[in-house]
Symmetry: C2
Subunit: 278 residues, 2 copies
Amino acid sequence: VLSPAGDVLISTDQLLATRHFDPDATPVDLIARKAMARALSDIAAMAGAPLAGVVAAQLPRDYARADELFDACHAWAERFGCPLVGGDIATTPGPLGLIVTVLGTPHATRGPVRRDGAQPGDMVCVTGALGGSLDSGRHLTFEPRLAEGRALAETLGSRLHAMIDLSDGLGIDAGRIARASGVRIELDADRLPRHTDPRGEPLDWRRAAADGEDYELLFTIDPSDSGSELPTDAAGTPITVVGRVADAATDADRGMCVIRTSAGETIDARRLGWDHGG
Amino acid sequence: VLSPAGDVLISTDQLLATRHFDPDATPVDLIARKAMARALSDIAAMAGAPLAGVVAAQLPRDYARADELFDACHAWAERFGCPLVGGDIATTPGPLGLIVTVLGTPHATRGPVRRDGAQPGDMVCVTGALGGSLDSGRHLTFEPRLAEGRALAETLGSRLHAMIDLSDGLGIDAGRIARASGVRIELDADRLPRHTDPRGEPLDWRRAAADGEDYELLFTIDPSDSGSELPTDAAGTPITVVGRVADAATDADRGMCVIRTSAGETIDARRLGWDHGG
């Protein structure tokens, strides 16, 4: 039995072997971590605080590490502030799967932040850096941006118009905000904060826009309040302005997300990243 | 965003093709119905009222009836009073799966009913009739006993000590109450309310005790209040006394559930039903 103080957010997310992690190469602890962190990334994107979660586990019939997996799920859930209060176990002829449903509470004054609130004139921003998550293993070890989401709601209040977490890639996920909000989003390739490759070189902008599984927050801010500075970080994580929200002048603009390159090209950003994870 | 008035119950349940339904023979509408009804049966067992739910769907890559399946999930969720407020879709190399997480609110005065409250001296009761669910197709068309669970909490109040829904079979599920409560449960084979076979003959008691997937409520009642009659039905569904809760005199008794036959045998009821569904 849970005793929320008021409204409740809910989100469900599935982590499936092969699709979301390599079952032969991923430590059990990191499988559990990713399952919990992915689900909580959705709560972070609503600027919510975790309340509690449940896990439905699908185990191959001969799976020998179930106890270890459940212990790790509980430990990571606690670590992320979202204790597990129930679950279900099934054996399956399919891949190992963890289906996590989490509850959260919205920010007390800002309320839940959704993806449909972007307004023409908004700045488009991201937390952290993008790209290379799968190659680097960051997709297994990222921190859900819970503190950052809450800090943005606290600092920006009603100026924080829309937010989403970056799971499928900047282009696709920005397109989701554009579609839900009925606006056009324009991103600048040069402004994307990028992770480095193993040699220390910044990744190509296409990888930052398309790789996916960054689990950073993408959000839009009303810049009209010129008296207050835009924050440069959220809970210590850098914020970068990467674009703007434009009017949807035509039907084709509504839900459009483009990215402008330094060479002057304008590319449909929603088509970047579709093939990232199979 | 949900706005519960107070405490929240949560339960998660998986419906997997082959394991819980025959994917070749089951209409899409009944797949959706069973997924929702199974999850809500858990809320019924807590005497809760449905609040809202989310569904994670796992679809084989070539699955052609996804829209029909989702429409049916929404329709049955509404029908059972538990609107769907979110979801997630993944393609899978495994079987079709629907993982449903439901929220509920506990009874306002009785609070949530759990499986660990059975006391020595309690009567053990069930709603409805038992056995033959898989053969008859009832496992696809049962009504979750939501009204019944609430009515029992309303009528019996604190005399309603423990409750569970019968998914794996009377013997196994009664054993779960016995284990959680640290008591011994004694059932009478002759008293089990039984469904009939296709010729109209009552099923053997072993089938009533072991077939599983009845989704009736099993509950224990404090009989001490001799001034008030035991209800004979809950929301119109018959109630039958099928046994009693005994002291656990020894460690071996704690968590034991036996069934007594008319021939005078005493059988470990927890061993009935293990093989019912593969």
